[in-house]
Symmetry: D2
Subunit: 337 residues, 4 copies
């Protein structure tokens, strides 16, 4: 039974809490938050004790590993602390919004190696991973193009957007990670065109809410990412992989399979699952399980700190390309495992 | 927290065990089976203690309610015992295969009223109940016809079939219950044509594996049920409700939403969920929750012992019709709540 | 170039007229109707001359073959005349509504053999014939069940219904013909349950508008036909063939392939093709071509007069079964080519 | 009855020939080709007489209008000739591959105005035009993004590609025209990334076969075009319009609506219609009819010579962007009718 300390008790912590509680091989030992009242609330809901300082949290011998679900700008500090304490970590994405601080985190983990896994949860979705497995198994022959559609059902608050690092670092980064993972090759350049169509207040703080990105790999594979912060018909998550021998397409997930035909229309009676918590519920469960397996049995992390860095390189290139109206060379190269 | 004693530790008990364990308002107090070793195995897996005699099981004051998941021919005896002990019950379907014994069970519950719910789980499936709610809400106008397709992925063993009461009492009975519940009216007659196309050994013991049934209600609604014991493409569970203002159709549930297009075909990359445990997983969870609500908060059972009796009337009429090659009057009448 | 005389200038004649005109190997020589004004109208639209008496029509040496698209109760008379004149015929369905007169027609054609083809047009639909070819090619393994859904978009006028021979002889007869043709075996018995849900005036003249039929073959194959005279969502024409190795299903044909997703629904933007003229447009074209091939090159008719008789046997059995509430033995036996 | 002279008797002429012959208001008066033997072949098939010199062709008073279906590099010359003769024209796309010559054609038509329509046939497809009408009617609210997938079933021969002006001027130009027409606004810049994945010989002559394009309009609308010269699963023609109130998507057209479910897959039994002749058959018919209406009744051409020029501006920008790895300003502005 793996004892877990959960860092953070905000939105994402309320995703990890139940997933840890439900895992047969894990138990929640403690919830750490300098805001002790908040920690207490989460601990009461999912188990374990509330802890207000990180030293106490990490000194507990019952804690075998930590899950970092705190605000992005605290990740580096907590990675340092957990690495110093020798605790394996699962850390929320993005690693950080600043490339310098990302490099610091990597240096910390190089100096004091502990198992470290980055929480790109969408890789663990049954449908997404089935598509990637099928691509790797050659079911589309040689991959020629990849198209990722990622549209949120509702835009974030401006307050959230302000600290999120912008649309590319907050949301497109998921698609950039999946793109590398499915393409199997680092993109050599990135072009992004974007605008603010959904919420003018997002534009007022310099952000965008509608974006199209094109990437190219050295082998000539092309990848398109289409993003919007508001699809009124629901969370739209689709991927299309096209190659020399065929095409694979994922479809949105609906919990109720009901069709209605009337004199006016023939319609699905339900929407896609609401948002990422619902859509990727199985993915969070499977990701927590992959973390458990990595800590309990050893082996390489399925998502590395380097994956986090490279996704950030691409996300920052999206922004630079949007501003400069040209393709930005990424500097990345090689195969992606 | 409702304390539950689970009667039985066979196949269905391994469905109820985890569902009870996972329910936030229930805990498994004990597992009863005269075969104590089998009870022990289930208790270790899902909690509670193993009990070998029913008196001890029912005498335990921690037991607030019982779930009867034992062989069909023991239901009457255990209903009598639990009723005598004043314990609310959730009982697996069918109630019994003999109409006389079903009437005895009803008499017992009349003499000693305790909350009693019959486990027609399919009523609790999100998709099936959404269809029924939509029909009741008038989304197809006046209902004219109802079609239920229920095809298993694999036929049962001959040993199982021999004690199951035959195809109509074992499997079609689910469809007959859904038919009454969706039609909202008792069928006045039943016609069934059937044959043995899948496994000649089922034919050798007098059973069938392929059947078509047509029922008519006094208002003129028509209902068709199509059954097969082996659909090689997977568990096929579809319903179509057709009326004056339109049609509602349910589709099979697939966990992976992946399409593959090649020079030879455009195909779904996955099968429907394997069998009833997988397909109706949410239904079992929701049914257990409905049982919890009925016991904890009172109110009418969503599926009554009378529902069990009437489904059996129809299932027996299927058999009689098949043998006599004519429509069999059911003797049932009135609205179905 | 095959010279055709079209018998009749009513509704069906306006289907055959353009199809003959468009066929590269046929030309419309004349249109025959005792009502010469009506014949003239059709001739002006599709070519040829109008003729008011049948002797003149058949005496014309330019007429190589005739297409009989007159009211059902005139078929026998015109078949006799055309046979006497040695003209190959394509005759609308049903052959007649009276079994005695059908037998007379058969006797006529036996005494004076000329190529004769019955116009069960649905056999020539690309989708329906693809399904039948696939069944015959073993793509579902051994066929176990067949389900045919045939629902009209709008009910007929009472005036039309009064002379049509009733729902089974007018509409279900198409499904009965397809059933025989796809099952490959004559049904041994027929059970039909029906009611009047759409138009009470149809009920007032003793007809029905909603029906379910079940047939069984000696080999144990089961067939279900579901009929309604009004599907508000459009002409609903679907077939499902289920067997030991899989299932084939046809879908409705839509001319515009557009999906609309909004906050309220995800809907197809168009209805199925309106009614039989639109839905089976390609079928009429292909049927006329098959008739041309039969006359021009010889060979067996793809739909025989005997097919017409047997479909009527089944349609009459539907009515008898509905009245007697039991399965009616058909007396038919053997394979269907 | 409009008398037509068809210029050309090659591949496209064999599309126009039957469409003209089948139109109730048009007849083919003559087929012009300096290669008289080729003209003769087409004339025999579709009607009219063969003519080997353009003066004779245009001097014929029976010729009311001409259809120019000759090689691209001859369009300018024939437009000049037909304009001088005052004959209305339907001219195949692209207008020309050279912007200077396109401007010359425009000058010719300005100096000697005759009704002129450019043959962007895809605008006339029932499904494509239904999508565009729905977008214009506000069914997706304000349009935010547009995605066009255009993948051929088989790559062209290298010989054909060599004279076609390259992938962007030959094929993407259709998508660029549809993009303008659906966006309702001129793109302000174009970015294209492309590669040669299908046929290295196309790469050897400096062409590409796989391309992704992103365009942005002044209002912030984004448009993505995805092209491939070989989709092994068939001609893939899909459009997705996404906006503030929803999404519209077109689907590929299949002539046979048959699904096959087996133990291995659930598959559509047929491919999309083979290539542009089959897929856009109704579009050619409707385009010819629109040309007929324009000539017979007057009114603005539904596709203008200026539409041809602007599509070429965009196609050339695709090439420039691909070479320069940056977004190319188009210089176009304003609304698109």
């Amino acid at each position: 039974m793996l004892g877990i300390c959960l860092f953070g008790s905000g939105r994402m912590a309320h995703v990890y809490g139940p997933a840890i509680a439900a895992h047969p091989g894990m138990r929640l030992v403690s919830v750490f938050n300098p805001n002790l009242a908040s920690a207490r609330e989460a601990a009461e809901a999912y188990g374990g004790r509330a802890v207000g300082d990180i030293e106490t949290a990490l000194a507990d011998p019952a804690v075998d590993a930590v899950v970092i679900a705190t605000p992005t700008n605290t990740h580096l500090e907590y990675i340092q602390a957990a690495a110093a304490a020798g605790k394996p970590m699962l850390c929320e994405k993005p690693l950080d919004l600043d490339m310098g601080r990302v490099d610091q985190a990597i240096a910390v983990l190089k100096a004091r190696p502990v198992p470290f896994m980055l929480a790109f949860n969408r890789r663990f979705d049954p449908t997404v991973s089935a598509l990637r497995d099928a691509v790797r198994a050659g079911e589309v022959g040689a991959l020629h193009t990849l198209t990722i559609i990622n549209r949120d059902p509702i835009p974030p608050s401006v307050a959230y957007a302000r600290t999120s690092g912008g649309y590319f670092c907050d949301s497109t980064i998921h698609d950039l990670d999946l793109a590398r993972w499915i393409l199997g090759e680092e993109p050599e350049d990135v072009f992004t065109s974007a605008s603010c169509m959904v919420d003018p207040e997002l534009g007022a703080i310099g952000d965008v809410d509608t974006a199209m990105t094109v990437m190219r790999t050295p082998a000539g594979k092309l990848c398109h990412i289409s993003n919007s912060r508001r699809a009124v018909y629901g969370f739209d998550q689709r991927i299309e992989a096209f190659g020399s021998e065929g095409m694979l397409q994922t479809e949105n997930v609906r919990d109720i399979q009901l069709k209605h035909s009337t004199s006016a229309y023939m319609a699905a009676q339900t929407r896609p699952r609401h948002f990422f918590l619902e859509r990727y519920a199985e993915a969070f469960t499977r990701m927590i399980d992959a973390f458990h397996r990595m800590v309990a049995k050893g082996g390489e992390p399925p998502v590395t700190v380097e994956d986090g860095r490279r996704a950030l390189v691409l996300a920052l290139a999206c922004g630079a390309s949007m501003r400069q109206r040209k393709a930005i060379a990424t500097g990345l190269q090689g195969a992606v495992a």
